[in-house]
């Protein structure tokens, strides 16, 4: 089985010091820089750790990378018989205003992943962190790792300063396509602009629940602004944004395209065709109906059996029990597709 979303967070900034140039280590020490400005997974919040996992991460051992590697091995890879686990650090390099620091930080995190995760367990695959706020520097970072067998995708925070369909990002997507990597848009980000089209909310509840709308906006941007027409080899996994909204988004985007396609003449097919070809969704959070039949209808409407990827989202809290992670409305055949064949095909494993 392949787990497409495991979080391998950097335990402390100092864990990256061995991989940062000396002057940036000095800068971090002198400036009391503690890391990127992001609060995607506030430590006390219920969504950040499953109650069963929280004590593990409060333990002394989890303050070192080695301890965290052991946790993932024990509680994900061994426990669920995972043959490939895809690591997604949510270290928000794209929110570091200094592009020089951001560039070095990205290289440091990727080296840290290569040295302290990928080389420790052959079951790991990982996601490159890039300074996407500067697409030319991001392209350089992608090229630095081109051909490395451990990295399967480039992780971008779903919240960005401008939507990823914007042509400013072309150098980054060109490099990603050239390196034959996938793209993962992951929950969160700290770009500084509000997380909704109506300004800043009050609560983490709104930021959390509202992230689904940011995912929707990115799908719309990438399809309508022609990313897949310019870069047909770009394929995107949407991680931790839910998927039950996909049918209604497809319908709306198709309808708008019928009326306004002269706005975006490069879009040659129904948007739903692009969506089904170029996007995949991680299974969690389910955001499911209480009625199993309705969930099967949603899967049918989106063609979801072929588009969803199994993910534990370790250590976040999106499944009720750590003993059973599959939702009851998914049968054996569906489980096999999500857990084995869909990710194998998508990631070329």
């Amino acid at each position: 089985m392949i787990d497409c979303d495991i979080h391998n967070e950097v335990p402390t900034l100092s864990a990256l010091y061995p991989y940062l140039p000396a002057h940036w280590v000095d800068y971090c020490e002198e400036s009391a820089f503690v890391g990127p400005d992001a609060d995607d997974y506030p430590e006390p919040m219920a969504t950040s750790y499953h109650p069963d996992y929280r004590p593990l991460f409060m333990d002394e051992a989890a303050r070192e990378t080695q301890g965290r590697v052991a946790l993932v091995q024990e509680h994900v890879l061994d426990k669920w018989n995972v043959t490939t686990g895809i690591l997604n650090p949510s270290y928000r390099v794209p929110s570091i205003q200094s592009m020089d620091l951001a560039e070095s930080m990205a290289t440091a995190i990727n080296t840290w992943q290569a040295e302290e995760w990928l080389s420790k367990d052959a079951r790991f695959k990982a996601s490159l962190v890039v300074p996407s706020q500067h697409p030319v520097l991001a392209a350089t970072e992608v090229k630095r790792w081109q051909g490395h067998p451990g990295f399967v995708q480039v992780a971008l925070p779903v919240r960005s300063r401008m939507p990823y369909g914007n042509r400013n990002f072309d150098p980054m997507f060109a490099a990603i396509e050239e390196a034959d990597l996938r793209v993962a848009l992951s929950f969160g980000g700290a770009p500084g602009n509000p997380p909704s089209g109506v300004g800043w909310p009050n609560t983490y509840f709104e930021i959390y629940a509202g992230m689904a709308q940011v995912f929707q906006s990115q799908v719309m941007s990438m399809v309508y602004e022609g990313v897949f027409d310019r870069f047909p080899g770009i394929f995107v996994a949407l991680l931790e944004g839910g998927f039950t909204w996909v049918p209604s988004l497809m319908w709306r985007m198709n309808k708008e395209w019928k009326g306004l396609r002269h706005n975006v003449p490069w879009v040659k097919e129904l948007p739903s065709e692009y969506i089904r070809r170029h996007f995949r969704w991680s299974m969690l959070p389910l955001d499911a109906s209480p009625d199993p039949d309705q969930n099967r209808e949603i899967l049918d409407q989106m063609g979801g059996e072929d588009l969803l990827l199994f993910a534990t989202d370790f250590p976040h809290w999106h499944f009720d029990s750590t003993r059973e992670i599959w939702p009851p409305f998914m049968g054996e055949e569906t489980r096999h597709k999500l857990g084995v064949s869909n990710p194998q095909t998508f990631y070329n494993l």
């Binding site: 919040m45 219920a46 969504t47 779903v158 919240r159 960005s160 300063r161 401008m162 939507p163 914007n166 770009p191 602009n193 509000p194 997380p195 909704s196 089209g197 109506v198 300004g199 800043w200 909310p201 009050n202 983490y204 509840f205 709104e206 959390y208 629940a209 509202g210 992230m211 689904a212 709308q213 940011v214 929707q216 906006s217 719309m220 941007s221 309508y224 602004e225 839910g242 039950t244 909204w245 049918p247 209604s248 988004l249 319908w251 709306r252 985007m253 309808k255 708008e256 019928k258 009326g259 306004l260 002269h262 706005n263 959070p285 389910l286 955001d287 109906s289 309705q294 209808e297 409407q301």
Partner: protein, 367 residues
């Protein structure tokens, strides 16, 4: 997206034949050149001549068509689409034999940066609705325009006209400056409940932040399709801030945002609430409970699933068939024609409710 290809007279026959009663919950009345000045006081008329209407910038996406309107919607005298009652009667109200047309004037009054002028403009627009529209045709009902970014000025305008039977709701624009659950909007809700007026939130606007949670997109198609995300943010905010515990009689009408996204949003909010409920101090029930109780949604632009049977599947997920309000969006280009907007798979009783009876009940309109 049905721009009608048949003459309105054909529609009249169809409506007479099927006897489907129709209430159109989204009919745009537009100010003609000079109309606003006619209803402004001399001071504000001078101010308007000097300064115009300064609003938030950055969100200008040139529309698909002039005035975003049907090409055939220009009145014979060349005035803007939607600015002539007589022509709206001819092309819409009489042509489709509407029981009622609910006016939703898009004027930008709530987005005027100078809130004092925002109030003056709102007052002028409301007086214009009464004088030029509702007093001349009893089938036409108005929406109170308010400077919604100021609670106290909005309350003042609701108090001025809230009792008038020709105003059936308070009208906001979807992209406000802050999410609608925030405290600054609560005085508006208190006054709306006092006068028994629903709050209608219509597609569009610019509240000063980028159109999406990931910045500004490039094209009008994204502005038009992307409004559904702002509607979702508003519903999320209203529910999570406990507005419906504070104002148990408050009603919201979402106009022109679609409704296919509502069921999945309810599932997500309920799931998130189970994990994060401790943060929401005023919320007592699952979010879907408040949504099904306090929200009405207009149909246009109606969802068009990939396969016919999926429409009624979606209706089953939504479970709000008694809350859907038919709307044409006249005179805009994406007009939904009354005789062909709803899929044939919609059963008669549900169809009757959507086409007229749900709105009649909400707005307490005589049969």
């Amino acid at each position: 997206m049905a721009i009608p290809t048949v003459a309105p007279a054909g529609a009249l026959h169809m409506s007479a034949r099927t006897k489907t009663r129709i209430i159109d919950s989204d009919v745009h009345a537009y100010l003609n050149k000079g109309t606003l000045a006619r209803f402004l006081s001399p001071f504000w008329r001078r101010f308007y001549a000097d300064h115009g209407q300064h609003s938030y910038d950055g969100g200008h996406y040139p529309r698909a068509m002039p005035q975003a309107s049907r090409h055939d919607a220009w009145p014979p005298d060349g005035s803007p689409p939607g600015s002539s009652l007589a022509f709206t009667q001819e092309q819409l109200i009489d042509a489709y034999d509407l029981d009622y047309a609910i006016l939703t004037p898009l004027t930008g009054a709530g987005e005027i940066l100078n809130l004092d002028f925002g109030l003056a403009a709102s007052q002028a627009i409301n007086d214009w609705q009464l004088e030029d529209w509702t007093s001349k045709d009893s089938r036409v009902k108005g929406s109170l325009i308010v400077p919604y970014e100021s609670g106290e000025l909005t309350v003042a305008e609701i108090q001025r006209w809230g009792h008038h039977p020709d105003f059936v709701q308070v009208l906001l624009i979807a992209r406000t400056r802050e999410p609608l659950g925030q405290r600054k909007y609560w005085p508006m809700y208190e006054a709306a409940v006092e006068y028994d007026l629903p709050i209608a939130v219509h597609f569009g606007g610019n509240g000063g932040s980028p159109l999406t949670g990931a910045g500004w997109p490039s094209f009008y198609i994204e502005d038009h399709a992307g409004m559904a995300q702002s509607f979702q943010a508003q519903v999320t905010s209203l529910v999570s801030q406990g507005v419906f515990e504070l104002f148990p009689d408050l009603k919201f009408v979402l106009i022109e945002g679609g409704f296919g996204w509502m069921a999945p949003l309810m599932w997500r909010l309920d799931a998130t609430y189970k994990k994060l409920h401790r943060e929401l101090t005023r919320v007592k029930e699952l979010p879907s409970h408040y949504i099904r109780k306090h929200f009405w949604i207009s149909t246009q632009p109606i969802e068009e699933p990939l396969e016919d049977h999926q429409f009624m599947e979606m209706m089953g997920h939504l479970d709000m068939a008694d809350r859907l309000l038919f709307a044409t969006d006249y005179p805009h280009w994406d007009f939904d024609a009354p005789d062909r907007a709803l899929p044939t798979s919609v059963p008669t009783e549900i169809r009757k409710g959507i086409m007229a009876e749900n709105a009649r009940q909400l707005y307490r309109l005589p049969a």
